[in-house]
Amino acid sequence: MRPLLQIISVIALSLTVFPSLMFFAGMMELDRMKWLMMAATVAWFIATPLWMGREKENPPATD
């Protein structure tokens, strides 16, 4: 399950930035880019909390 969720997160993260590159290249409208980004954002925040930080804790640090 964990590897699958990680793959979804990577795809979501790629989709966060990839539409803007399409927009930069003149291959996508700004509005479509914004909605794709939002969809990628939703996917990231659903998939990532299910695996990130679940197995090993973050580094201890400070006061």
Binding site: T16, V17, S20, T41, P60
Partner: protein, 467 residues
Amino acid sequence: MSEEQSQAGGEFERQPVPKESLLGFKSFIGMYAGEHCAGTELMIGPLFVAAGVSAFDLIFGLIFGNLLAVLSWMFICAPIATRARLTLYYQLEKICGRNLVTLYNLANGVMFCFLAGSMITVSATAVGVCVNFPMPGLNDIMPNSIGWILAVLAVGGLIAIVAAFGYNSVAKFANIASPWMVLVFLVFGIVGLRQFIVASDTSIGSLSDLWQLATTEIWKGGDPIKDQTKFTFWHVTFFAWFCNMAMHIGMSDLTIFRFARKSWYGVATASGMYVGHFMAWISASLLYAYQLRLDPTDDSVLPGPMAFRAAGYAGLLCVVIAGWTTANPTIYRAGLAFQAIVPRMPRFSVTLATGMLATVAGMFPAIAMKLLGFVAIYGMILMPMGAVIFVDYYLLKKFGMQSNYAELSRKTFNWAAGLTWFITLGTCVALVKFAGVQIYFVSLPGWFVAAVLYIVLSKIYQKKVHQ
């Protein structure tokens, strides 16, 4: 700007970090990359544009200034941290005594409150996109509408309550949001650049075309917007170097690098500097420059509307999360600092009260709109204690004096350190008020003043105490 240092308080607070608890290099890269992509980056980039910065001054000033910041972490903070392996507060307590550390905590807590206030201001600008009310302008000092006050109250109140209930859940959320947030900042830059290319009807076929666009359309230099200080190469350099002065030269990050295996791990801060204080600042500045191009009279720096224009609701969410996840630990840390002064009060009440204080501060747009100056003052106020630690660690014994003097003499207030702090601040204020030195530069001579003062005053003080 970093305000999200982890808060695993209670770990090795009064003892050196043992070998088995040391961390690898990668831990520090991730920590710094995430922490320096904060809500305030969305203010700083635009404020550079408002200050009339030119493309050369911005790009090369940031490269050079951030390099100096990384070197400060590497060669000033991290070497002491990896040898002493103590928290800043314990190190200071050994040198200065408990009462002087309490005073330092108070100053630190107040500065954290204002900083958190500016982060709440950033998040509240996102509310203005969804609800129609007058938002503050670039030169506004006081809150300018009931709608704005209510928006800040709602956002700040929520942040304060969450911070009071506990730091950890938001810290975990911040870790999850961090990679996404960095990419949204990058998207701001990509979209902003594309919008400039279209608006100026330019085609970019080479780096020189891009540079031409940057110098003639985006960061044109010239006069700053009314009531703003003109920023040159040196302003950008010193700002990038000193905006985290409290952390490197001021030694706050002793607490972080005490976990590092080697002092060269200080180079990991480059991830934060060149992601947050280079890419993110440039991206945010592009959004504002484009806004000015669309309407030169619209000079208000409002991250919410700017982000929404570039990246829609994802951009808006980024503004809210960037402000929230950085205001939360800042309020928590301010609460800890205040709690050290009134230890009998429950942490919940202190943190809630601190959050509400930050919320009230956030209602006044002056703090966020004058963030460049505020950050410089913040560094200046805490810098002398960094000089005290540096001199105490490396030089006092060479001059025949005792280091960690408060601990040895069981003093609760080391007057040599206290007077060094107060006189240095007085000198810095005098340099700014009467000698025409701008606030962005004054901490450099200030550090040397503090170092010399601490040696001289320690000589007098330690001799007097021994008599």
